[in-house]
């Protein structure tokens, strides 16, 4: 595989993404809401930061799962930690998934709809290089988006809660694992699934609708957090990441194996 060609294909797609203002503003808007607006809203809620011992209802059991260093905080502060550090944290994964889905879904079927695919197929790029270029074009910005959003989220969380918790406390180890390990895995899942879908469907709309189902992964993670399954559980998070990476690998290999320019040309 010629990586120069792969980079050229990815570079072309990234150039087109940069020119797509609607996509850029959608991503920026959602990023702002999830990574800045939501933590800001939670942080500004009037939590009671008095001494511990109040009735926390269904959250009581979850509170006991917090790290020892945070156990001694007042109930209100622990509530803020629980909300910002655990319940909302997986939300930032929606951003890389969305970026990946937009770029990936557009990759082949979008080119076909814009009648630009044929020109690409006339270049010396092999099927594998074409496919790898498209995956790379989706993976780079989505992983970047994952890290940038997590950084923004971490800054806002600390800004709004440091005075309540008693200092800079975020990211926690699990949140860091979520960002560094699970984030790229989810981004790659979005890319590998959406590029694969993009080679098989007839319209961008169809591809977008199918890749929208990927948000169920995030819903699953949030349910996991809410139920306490993933809470404070680094091994579980590492395992989840590993499983998602394995699925990514299978999808990329499957996509590259079934990708056929002859089939695409016949439908073009």
């Amino acid at each position: 595989m010629n990586w120069r060609t792969v980079r050229a294909i990815a570079g072309k797609d990234l150039l087109e993404v940069r020119k797509n203002r609607l996509a850029i503003w959608s991503i920026l808007g959602l990023s702002f809401i999830l990574s800045v607006g939501m933590p800001l809203l939670i942080g500004l809620l009037p939590f009671d930061v008095g001494p511990s011992g109040g009735d926390l209802g269904p959250f009581e059991a979850l509170m006991t799962l917090l790290p020892p260093a945070l156990q001694g905080l007042p109930d209100g502060a622990r509530m803020v930690v629980l909300m910002l550090g655990y319940f909302l944290a997986p939300l930032f994964l929606i951003i890389p998934l969305m970026v990946a889905a937009i770029i990936g879904a557009e990759s082949f079927v979008g080119e076909k709809e814009r009648h630009t695919l044929e020109g690409l197929l006339y270049t010396p790029a092999t099927d594998l290089e074409l496919y790898a270029g498209k995956v790379l074009a989706g993976a780079v910005p989505s992983v970047l988006a994952a890290y940038l959003n997590f950084t923004a989220y971490a800054i806002v969380v600390n800004l709004v809660s440091a005075h309540i918790v008693g200092g800079i406390w975020f990211p926690t180890v699990t949140a860091l694992a979520l960002a560094v390990w699970v984030g790229p895995a989810v981004a790659l899942l979005g890319v590998s699934a959406s590029v694969l879908v993009s080679t098989r469907v007839e319209t961008f709309l169809e591809a977008n609708q199918l890749t929208g189902l990927l948000s169920l992964v995030i819903v699953g993670l949030m349910v996991g957090q809410g139920s306490g399954l993933l809470l404070l559980s680094l091994p579980v998070l590492l395992l989840v990441g590993l499983v998602i990476y394995a699925v990514d690998l299978v999808l990329i290999r499957l996509g590259a194996a079934v990708f056929s320019r002859d089939r695409l040309m016949a439908r073009a």
């Binding site: 797509n20 009648h115 044929e118 020109g119 006339y122 010396p124 040309m265």
Partner: protein
């Protein structure tokens, strides 16, 4: 003996039960302008796509510069430039970006890509539109840019599928002028077109295709003179005229409401027709490839 640019022997392309290209054989020599003529569905585009290595042949032999299209597509693609029927330019990118981005697929470094892009922008008279996005360009400009893009890798073989279809006469003339310059520089050009008069003027040799088969191959003037003679006399399809022609032993063909009489010596035949048959209308013109196609298939190229 020099190696041909393209060698096809018994070339075949099937899409399931449909035979798009049916055991076609032809040779295109390096430096030659070779034309594919035929109506829609004749097999021209399928043949060109096989030569361009984007659609695998399903039978026969096809080599480009001595390389098999199914086995060595990468090397072949690096040596050819393809202009397809549609302007498949990136609509969101500028004229310049379209060329530079495409150049990168041929492993040209940034500086060389930029240099060639500017050179081609100049050659195709797009200097004023260098930084304009594609969407706002006229059809003729888009077509020129599509051709320019196909030349970014300085191809030994340029494949043009209907390069001037849908353009106004002025835009067509400009494109043919640039293609003529390419031809004079020694590029091998393979093209398909509906404009027969342009094909006659521009092509060194051509084939006429129909239903996936090559009906005839040769130099345009030779094809016309061998199949039609020098001139075509046209008259009305009138029973009295037909009876007269039969009586006089003059061979004719009926196409719609016209009767065609082909000949190498039109003047004496016209005198004979006027004196013997007295048709209500009579005209004479040079025989063309269109006439050859009519004779071979019984219908026009644009039908």
């Amino acid at each position: 003996m020099t190696q041909p640019a393209i060698l096809a022997e018994g070339l075949e392309k099937r899409f399931g039960a449909l035979v798009a290209v049916d055991r076609c054989s032809f040779v295109v020599n390096e430096g030659e302008v070779f034309g594919f003529l035929g109506p829609n569905g004749a097999g021209k585009t399928s043949t060109m796509r096989m030569i361009a290595c984007v659609s695998p042949k399903t039978g026969g032999r096809l080599e480009v510069f001595g390389l098999d299209v199914n086995e060595r597509p990468r090397e072949i693609k690096a040596m050819i430039g393809v202009v397809s029927q549609e302007n498949n330019l990136d609509p969101d990118l500028s004229v310049y970006d379209n060329l530079v981005v495409f150049a990168r697929f041929f492993e040209l470094d940034r500086a060389e890509a930029a240099r060639r892009a500017d050179e081609l922008i100049e050659f195709f008279g797009l200097g004023e539109k260098r930084d304009t996005v594609i969407e706002v360009l006229s059809g003729g400009m888009k077509r020129r840019l599509t051709i320019a893009r196909a030349l970014i890798n300085r191809p030994r073989l340029v494949i043009l599928d209907e390069p001037t279809t849908g353009l106004d006469p002025q835009a067509r003339a400009l494109i043919w002028e640039r293609l003529r310059t390419l031809r004079d520089r020694g590029s091998t050009i393979l093209l398909s077109t509906h404009y027969l008069e342009e094909a006659e003027r521009f092509c060194d040799r051509l084939v006429i295709m129909d239903n996936g088969k090559i009906l005839i191959e040769g130099r345009p003037d030779e094809i016309v003179s061998s199949r039609m003679g020098r001139a075509v006399i046209e008259t009305v399809d009138d029973p009295a005229v037909l009876a007269c022609l039969a009586r006089e032993g003059i061979a004719y063909e009926r196409f719609g409401d016209l009767v065609h009489i082909t000949t190498n010596s039109p003047e004496p035949l016209i005198q004979r027709l006027v004196s013997s048959c007295n048709p209500s209308r009579l005209s004479v013109r040079n025989a063309t490839l269109e006439d050859v196609f009519l004779r071979l298939t019984g219908r026009g190229l644009k039908d």
